[in-house]
């Protein structure tokens, strides 16, 4: 069974495929508008110290996601 983890637990350079969003449709919509959807593969570009935002890259785009949002995006390690 592949482990499903929140984005903010991945380390720099790791890839993950988005499986689900823990949140309402508003949360999902917001992410979708930016291009982050179920099935998108993301790579962790940078992590900040303590509870800072995480920067992910997908499809030639880089997005910074705040810690509390990042922990609600679940990915399967790829």
């Amino acid at each position: 069974m592949e482990s499903v983890v929140p984005i903010n637990t991945l380390t720099e350079g790791e890839k993950g495929e988005i499986i689900s969003f823990e949140g309402g449709s508003f949360f999902q919509k917001k992410l979708e508008e930016m291009g982050l959807r179920i099935g998108t593969t993301i790579t962790i570009v940078a992590r900040q110290w303590m509870k800072g935002p995480v920067i992910v890259r997908f499809d030639h785009t880089e997005v910074a996601i705040g810690f509390n949002m990042a922990k609600r995006i679940m990915v399967k390690r790829a």
């Binding site: 919509k29 291009g35 940078a46 992590r47 900040q48 110290w49 030639h60 785009t61 880089e62 910074a64």
Partner: protein, 575 residues
């Protein structure tokens, strides 16, 4: 009536660069009535036809109703004749999401496939003709940086048409997938040098040192450009042309008339002294043009470079942690940075913040703890002789107050602090023409807004002096001032002046011959006491009367406490 073209697109697609390429110098940024959103308008003339271009602030979706900017965009699009969507060619899939939404509006449309040059570098191959065919819209590849494709864009402007492309909205992402499949081929690439640099500048271990270096460079460059302009341009002008002119003018007016006092001010040893004469045409103009403006120009130049290279969002990410301690998130660094140039645009920039709580905290922190260029220039004037020590203590005090006040406000102001969710653009060489235009627009704005206030300030203070009001106030507060702050009562005059123009207030402190310690306390208090009247006006507009009164109360309290504490602390040190 000119054809109205609405420029639409995601943030970071180079929309502003395209806008700047298409328009002449008469670009105006104006407020959309009834809102806090600013729209840029410009004109394009071609073959006798005149087009009006409207640059809508970048947004992510036409469907969300939470964002005022997006509502405005939709209204503007409906009122326009033609939609020009600027698309980032390296992100075609994502951008098509907006394209499909726009197509449903059934307006004549044209796609600008910008940053096309970057697709080659990234191994992306787009069949433009096929894309045109599928979308039934003209698609023009461009590179705003070099200007490639702009001519073609202008030529094909009237080919814009309503798309015949039909699809089910619920299947939008599938449609996008289908289009991409037919139109785009990506060859995987090795990690490029640029990517490594981008990563390094945002990962804390390397990113923070890089940030410190860049801050140092920026600070130094601002000083160099500012001083250079003063030394080689403005001071020579004032000393060699303006002074003789004003001296003759002064001789024409009878030396103690009200007019002379207002326009020329006091003569020091029979001569005009730009620092102390305090006339509208002497100190008033000199301070604006030879002290503040050079630094404003320098500041805005550097800021535009930082913005256009794409570095600022990365700064926002790195400082996000720190910002959270004061109840904000990373993006609020931008209004605060702007505040260092001039508190007015800094305060206006709080519009980019999502919640009222954030807006209030940032506006308050800017008003109280962020010294604008004018204030900084004068700080250096007052304390420069003492070297880094003096200025250092002032900035350190301001920073500590920023931190403490921020932490207090975070816990006491009701509301939530939002999370950072921000696109980080790749590093790009800035488009030089855009930089110039941007800097020029900001400087021009500053001149139009600053000069009237300076003159107003000088006028009011001169009047207050003539009526004896200043002297009366000084005598009344003198005992309090000496007790709490260790300052003579006359310093109160400088504080009042500080409400009108900070830099002029400093001029009033010079003749008081204060000691080092007194200068430091006075400088800090001056910096924190009341934003200048221009900022005050903007705060009134942005926050409303109630919040402004709250801010004023917080400010008075903070100034008195800081002034007293600083006085005590410094006394302990200098014994």
């Amino acid at each position: 009536m000119s054809t109205k073209i609405i420029l639409v697109g995601y943030p970071n697609v180079g929309k502003s660069a395209i806008f700047n390429r298409l328009t002449g110098m008469d670009v105006i940024s104006s407020n959309y009535p009834g809102t806090t959103i600013d729209i840029a308008r410009g004109f394009l003339n071609r073959e006798g036809k005149r087009y009006e271009l409207i640059d809508v602030p970048g947004f992510y979706s036409l469907e969300s109703t939470t964002n005022k900017a997006e509502e405005i965009a939709v209204e503007l699009i409906r009122s326009g004749d033609l939609i020009l969507q600027v698309v980032n060619a390296t992100n075609l899939e994502r951008n098509l999401n907006l394209t499909l939404q726009l197509i449903q509006l059934r307006k004549p449309m044209l796609i600008v496939l910008n940053m096309f040059d970057e697709t080659k570098q990234k191994g992306i191959n787009i069949d433009v003709a096929k894309l045109e065919q599928i979308l039934s819209l003209p698609v023009v590849p461009t590179c705003a940086l070099t200007g490639e494709g702009i001519k073609e864009l202008v030529t094909r402007m009237n080919e814009a048409r309503v798309s015949q492309y039909r699809f089910e909205d619920a299947q939008r992402w599938n449609e996008i997938g289908k289009i991409i499949g037919q139109v785009q081929v990506i060859h995987p690439q090795h990690r490029s040098y640029m990517e490594k640099l981008q990563n390094a500048s945002v990962r804390p271990v390397t990113g923070i040192p890089i940030l410190l270096v860049i801050l140092f460079l920026v600070f130094t460059l601002i000083g160099v450009i500012g001083e250079g302009l003063i030394q080689y341009l403005f001071d020579p002008f004032f000393d060699n042309y303006w002074k003789p002119l004003m001296t003759s003018f002064s001789e024409m007016l009878s030396s103690h008339s009200l007019l002379h006092d207002l326009l020329i001010g006091d003569l020091m040893d029979g001569e005009i002294d730009f620092g102390q004469s305090f006339g509208l045409l002497t100190t008033g103009l000199h301070v604006t043009f030879a002290a503040v403006l050079p630094y404003v120009v320098a500041f805005y130049t550097l800021l535009s470079i930082l913005e256009d290279t794409g570095y600022l969002p990365r700064v926002a990410v790195m400082v996000d942690n720190l910002m959270h301690k004061v109840g904000l998130h990373g993006l609020s660094i931008i209004p605060m940075l702007l505040g260092f140039g001039c508190n007015v645009p800094g305060t206006m920039a709080t519009r980019i913040l999502e919640t009222r709580k954030e807006k209030f905290i940032v506006a308050t922190l800017i008003a109280i703890t962020v010294p604008c260029m004018a204030m900084q220039a004068m700080l250096f004037g007052l304390l420069g002789a003492y070297g880094v020590k003096g200025v250092g203590i002032v900035f350190l005090t301001l920073f500590i107050v920023w931190l403490l006040l921020g932490m207090i406000l975070k816990r006491t102001v009701p509301g939530r602090s939002p999370e950072l969710f921000l696109e980080i653009p790749p590093y790009r060489r800035p488009y030089f023409g855009g930089l110039i235009k941007k800097t020029w627009m900001r400087v021009r704005w500053f001149l139009q807004e600053a000069v009237p206030f300076v003159l107003l300030g000088v006028l009011i203070v001169n009047l207050l002096y003539s009526l004896g009001v200043m002297q009366w106030i000084s005598s009344k507060v003198s005992p309090l001032f000496t007790l709490l702050f260790g300052l003579p009562g006359e310093a109160s005059g400088a504080l009042i002046m500080g409400f009108l123009r900070k830099d002029l207030a400093v001029g009033m402190l010079i003749p008081l011959n204060l000691s080092f310690q007194q200068l430091v306390v006075a400088s800090v208090m001056l910096s924190m006491f009341f934003p200048c009247i221009a900022t005050f006006t903007v705060l009134l507009k942005e926050l409303g009367v109630k919040d402004l009164l709250k801010l004023t109360g917080i400010m008075l309290l903070t100034v008195v406490i800081t002034g007293s504490l600083l006085h005590v602390v410094l006394s302990l040190f200098t014994g």
